[in-house]
Assembly symmetry: C2
Homo-oligomer: 152 residues x 2
């Protein structure tokens, strides 16, 4: 789908605030409410707009301990990959899992309450998965930048 400058501006605002009204957008962009409405609907239909979601505050919710786990598998046969990917996806603590190139196979973003909970996650969840080879963990000292906003 081709996006013109107006579409890109709409996406800019929507990425920051899913609840901005068409009326507010129409005022910012000097278009009628209906014109905004049609453009947004078109971007929803084409899939450019994937989802409207709510972000929670990790710290307030008590999950401020963020860890990146580098995982190597023992075997790289298809069944090992399928098994690991299925099992790791089922873990609530794992928000992200990417199959990556390089020294290890997977990079995981893990969210837990504290070191105590992380230890428990490692011992009784992650390292019990089938075909797990080695893991290496990096603890987050500080979040320098963390956005979902794409510059289109």
């Amino acid at each position: 789908m081709k996006l013109d400058e107006l579409d890109k501006k709409i996406l800019g605002y929507l990425q920051q605030d899913a609840k901005i009204t068409n009326k507010e957008l129409s005022a910012k962009l000097n278009l009628s409410v209906t014109a905004i409405y049609e453009r947004v609907k078109k971007m929803e239909r084409s899939g450019v707009i994937a989802q409207y979601i709510t972000l929670l505050n990790k710290d307030i919710v008590g999950l401020g301990f963020q860890v990146f786990c580098h995982v190597k598998l023992e075997k790289h046969a298809q069944n090992a990959i399928d098994s690991f990917e299925k099992e790791v996806t089922a873990l609530d603590e794992v928000l992200e899992c990417f199959h990556v190139s390089g020294d290890y196979d997977y990079l995981l973003k893990v969210l837990v309450r504290d070191m105590e909970h992380f230890r428990n996650f490692m011992v009784s969840k992650l390292t019990t998965l089938k075909y797990i080879g080695s893991t290496q963990s990096s603890f987050t000292i500080s979040e320098v930048k963390n956005t979902t906003t794409i510059t289109v």
Copy 2:
């Protein structure tokens, strides 16, 4: 803030869909629209609910090439850290940057169009930052799991 089971269910639905109406929630949870409304407002005020945002489809938007960059700084003096963090935050291609423990100092999530664009990002942006020591990149082969939904 203390969250009861009802609050947690509301958060579960809101995290998946920021546009779910209070009416829909009230039907799912057998509460009045006003009761839902009050609970949501309270969670907004307390900061549990941080933001309502829109997610775009990276692939459709033409930014489907995802790379994790491990960065080591040359110096670890405060001014070097401040300088690097400020500069890296300004880069649109860098969606996430975490100061982490381990063999390297920072872990970056970088989003670009393709390898060509990544090469350009490395050569003319990332490696030109002050105090950059070494970098190591991992390319994403596949996205196994990628959610923002926290289990509360």
